[in-house]
C-alpha cells in the first residue's frame, strides 16, 4: 500500500473504469503536495500484483440509489474505497433560485424521497424564521404527528432495506406492510403517497381529516404490539445479523463529529445528541421521549449494528411522540391551518441557517433572501447523507466487500439527498 500519495494527474491515471468517457476533466488549481489522509490518489501503477480496481457501479440491486464506489481490492479485502456521487444531481439549488418560495417545497420533497415530510418541514421552518411567522400550536401538533409518523415510515424502509442488503428478505416485507399503512394515512390527509407538498410556509396544506386520530392510534397499536416486537426479534436480535454487523464500520465519536455525522449515525457512536432535545423547535420540548444511544452490546460502540439499532429503537420513541401529539390534538380545538400562510411569500432581506431533525438526520437549509424578491436568492441545503458519505472511505478500509454493503446500509444514505 502506498504511503505518500502523489496528487492525481488526469493524463496518467486510468481514472474511471469507464475510461473512454472521461476527457480530461476540470481540475482545481491545487498544486501543493499535501499528504492526504485519504486513499484517494491511487493509480493503476500503484497496485500490487494481486490487487484490482473493482467498480460497484451506479446500478446495483440496492435501495440506496445510484452510488458508484470504486474499490481497490485483492478480491475480498478492500484496501481503499472511493465513492463517486452525482449520478442523481438534479439541480435543486438552481431550481430554487428560479421558482418562488412556496414553489420550492415540491422540490425539497424530492431530495430525500423516502422521508419527504422532514425536508419540507426544514424549509418551511427556515422561511418562517426569515419572515418571523409563528404558527399556531394546532399546526405545530399536526406537524409533529406527521413528521414522527414519517420517521417511523422512513426507518421501516431503512431497517427493512438494510436487512434485505444483508440477505434477509422477509423483514423487508413485514416492515413495508406497516409503511404502506402510514402512507395510507398520508394519502387520506393530503392525497399523495410519497411526495406530499404538505408543509407550507406558515401552515400545512390540508387539515387532518375526521377520524384520522382514531386511525392513527389503531395503526400505532398494531405497530407497537405486532410489528415492532417482530422486527426486534426477527432481525435485530438475530444472531446472524449481529455477527455480520456488530464488528464492522466502527466510527469513533471524534471522527463522527469531525465529519459531521448527525442523528442515528452520531448517536450510534455513543454521543447523545438529538436536535429535538438540544435546540427544540415546533413544541418538541413539551413532549417526553428518550434519546436512544448506541451501547455497543455486541461489539465496539459505533459499529454498523449500533447505528442500525438506534434507528430501530427510535421507532418506538416516535410512536410515543405520536401518541402524545395526538393527545394534544384532541384537547385543542380545530384551528385554520392556513391562517398564517401569507398570500405572497416575500421575506425581507436576510439570511438564515435553520436545522431540523429530519428522519435521515440533521438537515440544514441556508436561505438567502435578497432584495425582497419572490424567488429565493440562494438556497443551500446541507444534506446529512452527503456528510455521512464523506466518511465512507475511512470506515471502508480493511473491510470485506460484503461488509461494504452493510456499511452503506448502516449509514442509511439516500442518493437523492446527496446529489440534490
Amino acid at each position: 500500500m502506498s504511503t505518500v500519495i502523489p496528487p492525481v494527474d488526469d493524463k496518467e491515471r486510468g481514472g474511471d473504469s469507464l475510461g473512454a468517457e472521461r476527457q480530461g476533466g476540470a481540475r482545481g488549481g491545487s498544486s501543493s503536495l499535501v499528504t492526504p489522509p485519504h486513499d484517494y490518489g491511487w493509480r493503476l501503477e500503484d497496485l500490487d500484483n494481486d490487487e484490482m480496481i473493482l467498480n460497484m457501479g451506479p446500478q446495483h440491486p440496492s435501495t440506496h440509489g445510484v452510488l458508484r464506489i470504486e474499490l481497490r481490492t485483492d478480491g475480498e479485502v478492500v484496501r481503499a474505497a472511493r465513492p463517486h456521487i452525482g449520478y442523481l444531481h438534479r439541480c435543486f439549488e438552481k431550481h430554487a433560485e428560479n421558482v418562488d418560495y412556496p414553489g420550492v417545497i415540491p422540490y425539497t420533497d424530492r431530495m430525500d424521497y423516502v422521508a419527504a415530510m422532514g425536508n419540507s418541514l426544514g424549509y418551511a421552518l427556515a422561511v418562517e424564521q426569515l419572515m418571523k411567522i409563528e404558527v399556531s400550536p394546532y399546526v405545530q401538533a399536526i406537524r409533529v404527528t406527521v413528521c414522527e409518523l414519517q420517521r417511523i415510515a422512513s426507518h421501516c424502509l431503512a431497517v427493512g432495506a438494510y436487512g434485505m442488503d444483508i440477505g434477509a428478505f422477509t423483514p423487508f416485507l413485514h416492515l413495508l406492510r406497516d409503511r404502506e399503512k402510514i402512507l395510507d394515512l398520508f394519502e387520506w390527509t393530503c392525497g399523495a403517497r410519497l411526495l406530499y407538498n404538505y408543509n407550507w410556509v406558515g401552515g400545512v396544506s390540508h387539515d387532518l381529516p375526521e377520524g384520522f386520530i382514531r386511525a392513527a392510534r389503531q395503526f400505532l397499536r398494531d405497530f407497537e404490539s405486532v410489528t415492532f416486537p417482530e422486527m426486534m426479534d426477527l432481525l435485530i436480535s438475530n444472531k446472524i445479523f449481529i455477527k455480520r454487523t456488530a464488528e464492522i464500520g466502527v466510527c469513533p465519536p471524534a471522527l463522527a463529529v469531525s465529519y459531521d455525522l448527525t442523528g442515528p449515525n452520531l448517536r450510534g457512536s455513543g454521543m447523545p445528541r438529538d436536535l429535538r432535545k438540544d435546540a427544540p423547535y415546533m413544541g418538541y420540548d413539551k413532549y417526553e421521549f428518550d434519546v436512544k444511544v448506541g451501547k455497543g452490546e455486541f461489539g465496539p460502540v459505533g459499529s454498523c449494528f449500533d447505528r442500525n439499532w438506534v434507528r430501530a429503537a427510535e421507532m418506538a420513541e416516535s410512536a410515543k411522540l405520536v401518541h402524545q401529539a395526538l393527545d394534544a390534538l384532541e384537547k385543542m380545538e380545530k384551528a385554520d391551518v392556513h391562517e398564517k400562510v401569507p398570500k405572497r411569500v416575500k421575506p425581507p432581506k436576510g439570511e438564515v441557517y435553520s436545522r431540523s431533525e429530519a428522519p435521515r438526520i440533521q438537515l440544514g437549509y441556508f436561505i438567502v433572501a435578497y432584495a425582497s424578491g419572490i424567488n429565493p436568492y440562494r438556497v443551500k441545503v446541507k444534506s446529512p447523507c452527503f456528510t455521512a458519505m464523506s466518511v465512507f472511505h475511512i470506515l471502508a478500509r480493511g473491510m470485506y466487500i460484503a461488509d461494504i454493503i452493510a456499511l452503506i446500509g448502516s449509514l442509511d444514505v439516500v442518493l437523492g439527498e446527496i446529489d440534490r
Binding site: D260, G364, R378
Partner: protein, 193 residues
C-alpha cells in the same frame, strides 16, 4: 457565549484579519480575510472557550454586480460547538473570478467534500486540498452552474440540455416516439391477416 463575545475573541486573536461584525442579522457573522481562514478555523476548533468542533455547513453565494451591492462571492461557514452549544457564522469575501482560499480540510474532515462541491458549482479554488475535482457533475463538464451568469449549453456529448427548442422541434416534426397510453392495436389483429 453570544455572538458578540465570539467575535471579540476571534478579533482579539487575529486583529484586522477578522473584521466587520454584522450584529443585527438573524445569525450574526464575522468577516474573515481569505488568506487567514485556515488559521482562524484551526483556532476556532482548538480554543477551549470556542470549541467549534463541528462545521455545519460550507456554502457559497454569488453576488454579481447588481445595483447596490459590491460584486463578490461569499463563502459562508456555519460553525457549531457540541460542548458549548453555540453557533457562529464566518464569511469570506472573494472576487468573482479566479478566487482561491486555503482549505480547512485538516480542521474538519467534512470540509473535503463541501469544498469540492463549492469548486464544482462556483469555481472557487481551494489551496491545500488533497483532491480538488468535481464531485456532482461529470468530470468533463464545462463551467460552474450555480453562478448567476450561467447559461445552459445546447448539448452535452450529444444529449440535449436546454429543453425548449428540443421539445418544440420534436413536436413540430410530428415525431411520435413510443406508444401513447391509450392507443394500442386490438387483440389478435394478426389472426385475421
Amino acid at each position: 457565549m453570544d455572538a458578540q463575545g465570539l467575535h471579540d475573541l476571534l478579533a482579539g486573536k487575529f486583529g484586522e484579519r477578522v473584521s466587520a461584525f454584522q450584529a443585527d442579522a438573524l445569525q450574526p457573522w464575522s468577516v474573515v480575510a481569505p488568506e487567514a481562514i485556515a488559521e482562524v478555523a484551526a483556532f476556532a476548533k482548538a480554543d477551549p472557550a470556542l470549541a467549534f468542533d463541528n462545521l455545519m455547513c460550507l456554502g457559497a453565494v454569488d453576488y454579481p454586480a447588481i445595483k447596490e451591492s459590491v460584486p463578490r462571492m461569499e463563502l459562508v461557514y456555519h460553525l457549531y460547538s457540541y460542548t458549548h452549544r453555540h453557533l457562529h457564522v464566518l464569511k469570506v469575501m472573494l472576487p468573482r473570478e479566479g478566487a482561491s482560499v486555503p482549505s480547512v480540510e485538516s480542521v474538519w474532515g467534512v470540509a473535503n467534500w463541501h469544498e469540492r462541491e463549492v469548486f464544482d458549482m462556483f469555481g472557487i479554488g481551494f489551496t491545500g486540498h488533497s483532491d480538488l475535482r468535481r464531485i456532482l457533475l461529470p468530470d468533463d463538464w464545462e463551467g460552474h452552474p450555480l453562478r448567476k451568469d450561467w447559461v445552459d449549453p445546447e448539448f452535452y456529448t450529444g444529449m440535449h440540455v436546454r429543453p425548449t427548442a428540443q421539445m418544440a422541434e420534436r413536436f413540430q416534426a410530428g415525431e411520435k416516439i413510443g406508444i401513447g397510453p391509450f392507443d394500442f392495436t386490438p387483440f389478435n389483429a394478426h389472426v385475421d391477416e
